[in-house]
Symmetry: C2
Subunit: 238 residues, 2 copies
């Protein structure tokens, strides 16, 4: 439910209803089913998305849950509108979601709606597969590239914690880990100044880089420019 | 898909979109999946209902298909509007769907919309569980009863065929068999006259009985009035 809501946030849409398909194992644990149901309704209520239908059944097989969220938007924000010179922002902090946050995603519905009401968003996506990979979707659909500022990428404390045992740096986690469900937004340089000059109450925004004409992704770190692969910056092209 | 469309027809609604949740066994027959997909799209196209989303996945378990159809209606026709004196009609012919028709339901979407444009419908339902049982839903929600005319109930040839081996009469099949997916409609006596006087092109309509004040269901057969249980008239109350 939350992941689907994040997909709506990724287009700055407004969720209107959800349908839930549920197949329950006959020999299943009733507590699990009750908790699942309570969890679905808790998220539905928090985001004021009525569960309007779907189907419920039981069988000898395993548990199946299928959630679809329907949303509306007068003008959805797509991935394809980024232009060279545009500024890149992310909401929140990134990395290490596997330590637990991936089980309780916080879809950025109201954040996306609030941001689009403040400035025109050229492109928008939620981070489900990782910052570098999801930014890659924006860049390939917009036909441009980007340079990211390593020091500007906001690290979640979990990225630091995980780095102590993972063999990766916190930055690698912030760039490569999935299921952060934060937003990447692309705005004009002028609107970037406005967003930076006047912080938006309740929304943590970090300006992490700039779109460039040449396709590709680079990380600017300690004055050097390192090519970045969509799947993680530790496997550079050169 | 067709069964869900019939649920939309049962309220004289207009289908607008479908969502499909699909979990496919990894070891499954690819032909089955292609045929399933083709079947879903064939019905979607026939009723001009775009499949707008849902989810597709694969696993080690069995095949799971969950279809939800979203519809709209300025004023849905409910089950609760039948009044004593109202006339009961059904579309099509009934009984014996298990001989094959149950695998290819014909949702009466356009029939319901056409009928509601001709006369005010007091109540409406589709026949999924059998004429007597689904009529029972209308009667209990409307707080009235009904007398059915045994000779007026339209028998499908399958009801006759099945009766040769089932030990039941064709009428029993027409009253008790499910999955006909025809419509039961309730209109005022005046509108019943109009519907009877001028046949509606393309729609087979039979006037099968009358609503009465006293709760219950009766079958008028050879001049006798036999109580009818919602689950089939062969198990009368007395």
């Amino acid at each position: 439910m939350a992941v689907n809501l994040s997909d709506i946030a990724a287009m700055a849409g407004r969720p209107i209803a959800a349908v839930v398909g549920l197949v329950v194992p006959r020999s299943g644990n009733p507590t699990l089913i009750h908790e699942l149901n309570a969890g679905l309704h808790e998220v539905a209520e928090r985001f004021q998305v009525p569960i309007v239908g779907g189907d419920t059944n039981s069988w000898e097989g395993g548990l199946v849950v299928s959630v679809t969220v329907l949303g509306e938007s007068e003008k959805p924000i797509l991935r394809s509108g980024a232009q060279p010179g545009d500024a890149l922002f992310v909401t929140g902090t990134l990395g290490g979601s596997i330590l637990g946050r991936h089980l309780d995603p916080q879809p950025r519905i109201s954040e996306a709606l609030q941001l689009r009401s403040l400035v025109p968003l050229h492109a928008l996506i939620d981070i489900s597969d990782g910052l570098s990979q999801d930014l890659g979707h924006i860049l390939s659909e917009s036909g441009c590239g980007a340079i990211l500022d390593a020091e500007a990428i906001p690290l979640h404390p979990d990225a630091t914690t995980l780095s102590q045992t993972s063999g990766k740096s916190p930055l690698e986690h912030a760039l490569g880990d999935g299921e952060d469900f934060e937003l990447i937004l692309v705005v004009s340089p002028e609107d970037a100044e406005r967003l930076t000059a006047q912080p938006v109450p309740g929304i943590t925004l970090s300006r992490i880089g700039t779109c460039v004409r040449e396709p590709g992704m680079w990380l600017q770190e300690s004055g050097k420019l390192v090519p970045l692969m969509p799947r993680g910056w530790n496997h550079p092209l050169s």
